[in-house]
Amino acid sequence: MDKNIKILIVDDFATMRKVIRNILKQIGFENIVEAEDGVAALKLLKSQKIDFIIADWNMPNMTGLELLKAVRADQDLAKTPFLMVTAEALQENVVAAVKAGVSNYIVKPFTAEVLNEKITKILGG
């Protein structure tokens, strides 16, 4: 698994972005950028090459699901792996995310092991 990929963390809470960033660093990923919502994330995605997106579901302005749909609808971004972070993981929400093309999802609270496992699974490492 290539640990040099650029990962985008999208979450409206700075603390959760920091938690995920810390875990990613523990796992060995150093190339990390952050956005505080889907709108800021889309701007970033248009301006630099991002290899992997980790986004919260429940955000103001643009939800994680709306961001996922926007990414999948953009031919330049459509193939970017997308890991959804959710506090809910309710069956119907998961189905909506799968239909929209999510690569995988992770339920908060989670451990470093689980996040690593999900990323490894998506990247096929």
Binding site: M59, E92, F110
Partner: protein
């Protein structure tokens, strides 16, 4: 009005969610207490949920517990914790408790969670709800209040 059976299921799911989030995310281990005579200023957040069930979850934390959670999460000492990190930590914690509660209580039907609202130093004493829990940690205390009604 909830039936006794449903109320018990609500209480069990709510308690389980609080313990799960606090232990897994913040490494805080809680003990239920019946003492609610907390004279401290409490900070908290609330989240509304809607769907086949609707209601509100409010969680209030004593200053010591907030410091413990942030210290466990980021290794920060009290003097290095600004208001923003305290607010974010509280809101995210309540968001996770609410999400976890819905997952345990009603996993198969779509529910919507609102964006958490911060309650600042609003409470000197916790309010009461359909389910009201008080819990002590090694340092500090938290109160969790749940109001719920069936709309389906």
């Amino acid at each position: 009005m909830l039936s006794e059976e449903i109320l018990q299921r609500v209480k069990n799911s709510f308690r389980r969610s609080i313990f799960e989030v606090m232990e897994k995310m913040y490494f805080v281990f809680l003990e239920p207490t019946s003492d609610t005579s907390n004279g401290e200023s409490l900070r908290g957040a609330e989240v509304n949920f809607s769907g086949p069930w609707e209601g509100k979850i409010t969680v209030l934390f004593s200053p010591e517990l907030i410091h413990l959670m942030i210290n466990n999460l980021f290794g920060l000492e009290e003097g290095d914790m600004d208001e923003k990190i305290k607010e974010d930590t509280i809101k995210e914690c309540v968001n996770m408790i609410a999400g976890s509660f819905l997952r345990h209580f009603e996993p198969e039907r779509a529910m919507h969670l609102s964006i958490p609202s911060y309650l600042g130093l609003k409470y000197a004493k916790p309010p009461q709800g359909e389910v009201s829990l008080a819990m002590d940690a090694d340092r500090g205390r938290m109160y969790a209040i749940l109001d719920i009604r069936n709309v389906s």
